[in-house]
């Protein structure tokens, strides 16, 4: 009988562990005839050494050995992160069923009786080899998946960092402005900003692109760019309704992967203390007059931006008294599920804003996310973005 060549079943590397040289030799001849490669070990210690050097696919293990016996070898294998995946066939005498059962409990895949039946040997080694190959493939796929998930996380973090780099520095002086931006793990497409249009007028804006991921962030960056100083033209930039109408025409949903966005845009005129603002489907901004007076919701008629070509965006106006606080934020700041199943909502957030406004002004900026995070059971699922202007 020469080598049985099975083109669909290439041989593997088999480790034969037996303290008796003749037994090892017998198995070696039979296995090599089947097309396998064989390494021998005379005992448990040698077997573990061999595993450290060679990519063994299947182990044939004698149970009864002096020194480290088969049970201990099995225990060591099971405890090892790589070796635990190698199938083990334990070899025993006919009257050792109890031992065999114990080996199976310790992780052995199968068993063989001495003297060896050639057909059974071939079959069981073959099955174990197949099992090893499947386990190896699974391992490779799992690693590849982990790597690609890690790459995705890193890419989202990079996109978030880039958006963050576009946000303005805190404003200090008669008018103070701070912001807080905490992108969610899935990056929600929020962006915000403020800048002077001229010596008298300050533009303030916050937007939220529909959906999540790098795509939403990319659109958010495009929109920020369309709002940058000088981009819109003097007349338009000072007219909130016109700004949103321009953005609505420039970013139609169907040309931006079906993403619309919400936006709040305001212009504060220092000389008159007037705030003009427009709202494209965004949660109303909140104006807190000084002295703890009732909060005002600043909203104007307007649908989400980029969705409807015929949309009209109203411009509303109000007077801002010195000592007032303006908060502009996205729905990620209040759409949180509480531990008890109820939602923390817009109204709940307004209460927290009143507490924040009553605090003395410090240099440390805005830290509302912490106030919210301290509420039991809340976790931010979406981007948290909040802008505060103190007049």
């Amino acid at each position: 009988m020469g080598l049985t060549s099975r083109s669909h079943d290439p041989g593997g590397l088999v480790l034969v562990v037996d303290d008796v040289a003749e037994n090892r030799e017998l198995l070696r001849r039979r296995l090599e005839r089947e097309g396998h490669m064989v390494i021998e070990a005379a005992g448990g210690a040698q077997a573990l050494e061999a595993l450290g050097c060679a990519p063994v696919d299947v182990i044939l293990l004698d149970i009864m050995m002096p020194g480290m016996d088969g049970y201990e070898v099995l225990e060591r294998l099971k405890a090892h992160s790589d070796w635990s995946r190698i199938p083990v066939i334990v070899i025993s005498s006919l009257d050792q069923m109890d031992s065999i059962v114990r080996c199976v409990e310790l992780g052995a895949t199968d068993y063989l009786h001495k003297p060896f039946n050639r057909v059974l040997l071939r079959a069981r080694v073959s099955v174990c080899l197949e099992q090893k190959r499947l386990r190896d493939q699974e391992q490779r796929q799992y690693r590849a998946l982990e790597e690609s998930q890690e790459r995705l996380r890193a890419e989202l973090a990079e996109a978030a960092a880039y958006v963050m780099s576009l946000l303005p520095t805190p404003l200090r002086g008669e008018v103070r402005a701070d912001w807080e931006y905490i992108p969610s793990a899935s990056l929600g497409g929020d962006a915000l900003g403020y800048h002077s249009l001229d010596a008298d007028q300050l533009a303030i804006y916050l937007l939220d692109v529909c959906g999540h991921g790098v795509g939403a962030a990319l659109l958010a960056v495009s929109i920020l760019d369309a709002l940058r100083p000088g981009a819109l033209g003097e007349a338009t930039a000072a007219d909130p309704g016109a700004v949103l109408a321009t953005l609505n025409g420039r970013f139609p949903m169907e040309r931006h992967n079906n993403m619309y966005f919400t936006a709040w845009y305001g212009v504060y005129r220092r000389s008159t203390g007037e705030l003009a603002y427009a709202n494209g489907g965004h949660p109303p901004a909140v104006l807190l007059p000084p002295g703890g007076a009732k909060p005002l919701r600043l909203t104007a008629q307007g649908i989400v931006v980029g969705a409807w070509p015929d949309a009209h965006f109203e411009t509303a106006r109000c007077r801002v008294e010195p000592g007032s606080h303006l908060y502009v934020f996205s729905d990620g700041a209040y759409e949180l599920a509480r531990a008890d199943g109820t939602l923390f909502d817009y109204g709940g957030l307004v209460e927290l804003l009143q507490i924040d406004a009553a605090r003395p002004a410090t240099e440390s900026g805005l830290n509302l996310s912490q106030d919210i995070a301290r509420l039991p059971g809340d976790a931010f699922e979406d981007d948290f973005s909040m802008l505060r202007v103190a007049f």
């Binding site: 939220d208 529909c210 959906g211 999540h212 949903m253 079906n258 619309y260 919400t262 709202n279 494209g280 489907g281 965004h282 949660p283 109303p284 909203t299 008629q301 307007g302 649908i303 989400v304 969705a307 409807w308 949309a311 729905d331 939602l343 909502d345 817009y346």
Partner: protein, 111 residues
């Protein structure tokens, strides 16, 4: 989510349940657009059992409503839960599709 549907006075009434978000909105959108392609012109979306609608969810309603308007018909939603109602109002969606407390109110209006 699988859409439960019925016809009432020539209007297609679609019943949604659960969350309308990034995970569920694709399937809902396909079914709704399929109904429109199949000839539906007036649609009511019942949402008393919908606890949460994300921006992606509102987009589905918006796209369906705009397509129906283009075809001379329209879409309305009914039974919005308080948090969903608030999000609907913030979004200014009433300009494209109205919200009512019940489907019957819609049917009254549409005659």
């Amino acid at each position: 989510m699988e859409l439960a549907r019925r016809q009432e006075r020539g209007v297609e009434v679609v019943v949604l349940q659960g969350r309308l978000d990034a995970f569920t909105s694709n399937a809902v959108e396909q079914q709704m657009l399929g109904l429109i392609d199949g000839g539906v012109r007036r649609m009511i979306v019942e949402m008393q059992d919908v606890g949460y609608v994300s921006s992606v969810g509102f987009r589905v309603l918006l796209v369906a409503a705009m397509r129906l308007r283009e075809l001379g018909g329209g879409l309305a939603v009914s039974g919005l839960q308080p948090a969903v109602r608030e999000a609907f109002e913030f979004g200014g969606f009433a300009a494209v599709f109205p919200a009512f407390a019940t489907s019957n109110e819609v049917l009254e209006r549409w005659g």
